[in-house]
Point group: D2
């Protein structure tokens, strides 16, 4: 398969560029009989853009999903579901002046090499954060399937720059509060500090990174297809498709490298006739298979490459050094926008693996 599809049983193929006609996705492998309408996509699309212009780019477009295929009489048919969102607010002129000046830390330069200069550079083109709209739409379908078997996927902002949320929150609290603050942090005190950190970076003509955690509750044990299609490996791969992700870790993650076995191992217990672990340092994955405990995965999001501060770059046409100060409408921090994309990447991967082990039927109900 060429590189724009992911998933073996639940296959998501995305298309579209930031300043092209549409952002779109084909979801193939969705079981027949899932109720689905265009309205189902609205909440999640709205969540991508916090309604707080102090911390997001002024390119605020209302995105509405169109279902082009795969749904009939309000239910999925088993045929591929094509979904699009129109690109409306495009100001391509912002980019013309700087097309030969690759932004440091952005895909501009390698994309130019990879596609021989033919790639659509406007607004980052295919590499824009806006393209996550496609993933998010696929995630809506995936989450409806997961909700049908009581699995909840919950992403939220855990850190912005040095501001870290360490408070232990229940799944219910995360679910209820994560979209209340523009920063997508369910801990209100921390959310406010994060907002200040983003504003400070913006005012300095700069940007800032952060960490998103995603928890999955209620996934049964034994999901995954090791040795190569491991659950953690496939989740990691999907998560690296979210722009700006630079690291992925499960459970205590990199911290595990510093621990001894007696500290890191999660003891088993029988509780209510079920096998559970006392702690969940493993983040719910053992040997590439789900352990039955919550899947806890964290991704590092780098600061937005596009900043107003002057930077050193090169003029690629002239092959000489140059200076760049990025104009245009850019987010000082992409973490809040990335939260629903992370959730979607996880949801899509879980559905694929649940279909592979037969834990979601091919027909959801008989008509």
């Amino acid at each position: 398969m060429a590189g724009n599809s992911i998933g073996k049983e639940f296959t998501v193929t995305t298309f579209g560029e930031s300043h092209g006609k549409v952002i779109g996705v084909v979801v193939d492998g969705c079981p027949a009989g899932l109720p689905l309408s265009e309205a189902d996509f609205q909440e999640e699309l709205d969540r991508r853009i916090p309604a707080d212009t102090r911390i997001v780019s002024p390119r605020v477009e209302k995105d509405n999903a169109s279902i082009l295929s795969g749904v009939f009489n309000g239910y999925t048919t088993g045929a591929p579901i094509a979904l699009t969102v129109e690109n409306k607010e495009t100001r391509s002129s912002d980019y013309e002046a700087v097309k030969d000046l690759p932004r440091p830390a952005h895909s501009d330069y390698p994309a130019r090499v990879r596609y021989g200069g033919f790639n659509d550079h406007r607004g980052g083109g295919r590499f824009s954060g806006r393209v996550t709209v496609a993933l998010i739409m696929a995630g809506v379908v995936a989450k409806k399937l997961l909700n049908g078997i009581d699995i909840d996927v919950l992403a939220y902002t855990q850190a912005i720059g040095q501001v870290k949320s360490d408070k232990k929150l229940t799944a219910a609290e995360i679910k209820a509060n994560r979209y209340k603050a523009a920063t997508r942090c369910p801990d209100p005190t921390c959310a406010e500090e994060m907002e200040q950190a983003i504003i400070a970076a913006k005012e300095a003509g700069d940007s800032i990174g952060g960490v998103i955690e995603c928890q999955t509750h209620n996934l049964p044990a034994g999901v995954g297809e090791p040795l190569f299609d491991t659950l953690d490996g496939d989740l990691a791969k999907a998560l690296f498709a979210v722009p700006a992700v630079k690291g992925v870790e499960f459970g205590v993650g990199f911290k595990a490298a510093e621990l001894r076995g007696s500290e890191n191992n999660d003891p088993f217990l029988v509780v209510d006739d079920k096998v559970v672990t006392v702690t969940n340092n493993a983040g719910g994955v053992l040997g590439g298979l789900s352990s039955g405990m919550p899947i806890v995965v964290r991704v590092a999001i780098k600061p937005t490459p596009s900043i107003a501060k002057e930077q050193q770059t090169v003029n690629i046409a002239k092959m000489e050094n140059a200076k760049l100060s990025v104009k245009g409408r850019h987010d000082p921090c992409v973490v809040p926008k990335a939260v629903p994309a992370v959730e979607a990447a996880v949801a899509v991967t879980l559905v694929d693996h649940l279909l592979r082990v037969g834990a979601i039927p091919r027909i959801l109900k008989e008509r």
Copy 2:
């Protein structure tokens, strides 16, 4: 594809269990005309097992590769290359007593669920670290292909528990020294401290984790197939197939989440008519494509699950709580053994992507 294959153009399929007849691999997609003999595999197989019984399990078997197919008159033929190593030193009785007592942090429990109790539990079976022998053999083929186009893949131990090697080493130093110490750390002072840390853990009936870094030098810019088959995503997926990996990060990785754009962005420069970056915080990947700078990826390796110290577990047959103290021959630290496996996972993924962009020809030379 079922889950035991990886790679689209250079496809690696592994088979075999720790205490079965063999560990094996089929490498499909290797170009014709690569010189290859059984002797080529010996150095790398030997590297898997440090000759220092103070820090590794006493199960020290001499592994020799057999080429079953795909090589004729000393050259690869373009047909699939099947490779096996026999399992000789198996003491399966060690495991019989504890087969109903899943080891905390091990795949025992979810594997039992996934395979309905039919999985070969002896020595971890399919989930044993020994299975990396298959990946390492595929890596030998991959590295020969990479060396042919002057690409070097260099993994080494960067941390054991709290002992971290921060010294900046050149690629030449890493290459020359990483296999000198049993811990696979190319910095001799640090290597010694790491060894002590492992011995201390072992003497405490415990185990210890660590960090492996892998650098790839000389990879051209523009390699990768975004949006989903990103270079970083595919590397991460392959790396999670190495047992005990709990996190993967590129460049400054999770540290990027704490930085501002002006700190994290790598400025471009023209040097000798080539585009380079002043720093390499990105670890050589931008937008899922190689940037032309070294690929720097780090993995967190958790401490070995199997420890002598008594642990809390469950008797899965009786569904009751139980105690477990793991006997048998176990490594107090799997980091040193994982170094060649990490290198192999990276090499195999790079060859796959280089073939996809046409950077390795389908026939290496004409006969």
Copy 3:
């Protein structure tokens, strides 16, 4: 991958139903730098519908392709190309009355079983011949790539019912004349007889089948990825995606079963320093690889299932026997419409295989 994608390097994913909003396709893996515009699709889309209402269904809609992504400034970008055609002329009421009466020889019955009754049955839904519009659009992209390396793919009608065209025609004659007659037979005398055969079937309230041959000229030797991704196997698989195909054969095909080796073997000759064969009974494929001679493949197209004549069927809701006389607008013969679809299926498969052996570069020219 779920079932609506084909091709490993040149991946075609189709979506859409006969009476839904659109028929669409995502073409992933097209090299950057191919000139492409919406006008490029018009000729081929027009070819799907012969302008002769005596032999085709009165549902004659003018199809126009929209490019949704993957093209910028008139060239392909290397990103996925999404293409759609709107469905305008839909009379879904024709189908409501008979939705519980599966048409003999149609997919109605097994589709209902497979999708639990949720499939869009209107106009055959996902199984309609109209869906070949997606394949044809992908074929346009593929044929532009093939033309760039002087490869010509030429499908034409070879038989309608008992009327068979045995006249040996040159590639130039086939190319010049195949779309002149509504039956898509390049032999004018035969074309006229075929037309009469179709009209006779129609007047009898019946339908009729036929044979399409597709020749590919100028494909180099050695293309194919045996043992499983054989050139003939992959062509056959793609061709069975064209509705109504019941058989695929290469060269003399089933006739070869009746021959002796001395009759069937194609003797080699050196001509102008090239290896050719005197005959081409093999149809250009040996051992799953192209031989360098023209690829000659033939498909059997069954008669249209939907006929006015009364037929025996079942009422699937009541599970009782029933009678059916299909109303609505149906083609008495789908062979003419299938000609460009067959050509597209072959073109798409060849591009995939040419990319796999590196015979089409990843960037067509440098900008």
Copy 4:
């Protein structure tokens, strides 16, 4: 995936050459809990070589399967099953003299082009009919899975040259008698005539082709993943991996092209509360999905390329015309040997599709 694997859920990867160490296969995706032993493979391996040296090559080796992995305590474990058969009777010297003289109708020439002359040419190497041993071993596993859900796959010889068996035989008759005659024709009179036809061809220093039909009984309706992973398309692709296949057709096949709809359509009937068809001209496939009726597929097998009669070829090293009379041990007719391979190709494809629709569970029983 490189080209030596087939199947998405039940993935078969073959390796090995005619005169190499082994012929082997990795079967990935087999559910856990299937009883399997080396003895299970013997009958099918023996069936590949008719015990009648008048019609087969004198290279008669006793093949025995070794299970290298994936089976523990007599049951499949869910891990990949690697299987090998040793090559014992190899006389490679037969081939040295003619390695620059490609056999007409054989893969010698295109393989040399594809692999730059590095392919193992001995005995046809990777392209030898002997390689079907790998497919047959995978087929044994597949057929055990199918038998567990009462599905029977029955291939047999239907024609040798002009001798055709038109007698309607029941599934029980085919099953009981097809391996009684060396020609694998279950109709005894016809079997004898076929044998004479083969002997006559052999005595003339020639070879002869034939037709194999394969019937699958009891497959439920609705199996298949259209539009591209159609049941017929995937069967055809797998069948073209059997050497010498030149055509594949379902039901009445090419005959359908000559019929009218009223003749070809299979009327539906309700019988015993099940939907059946009166005739089965469709061969059990409609719209790429199984119809619930028997799958009937036929393949054309060309005459063996290697014949004693002198033929026209080229000396590829000298690029000049040459004469060739093939020595060595060759079958005058490969049809009888291909019967179990055809059956295996069908069985392997059906299991893949049954797993995809969830009709075979991932764990066959709980331990």
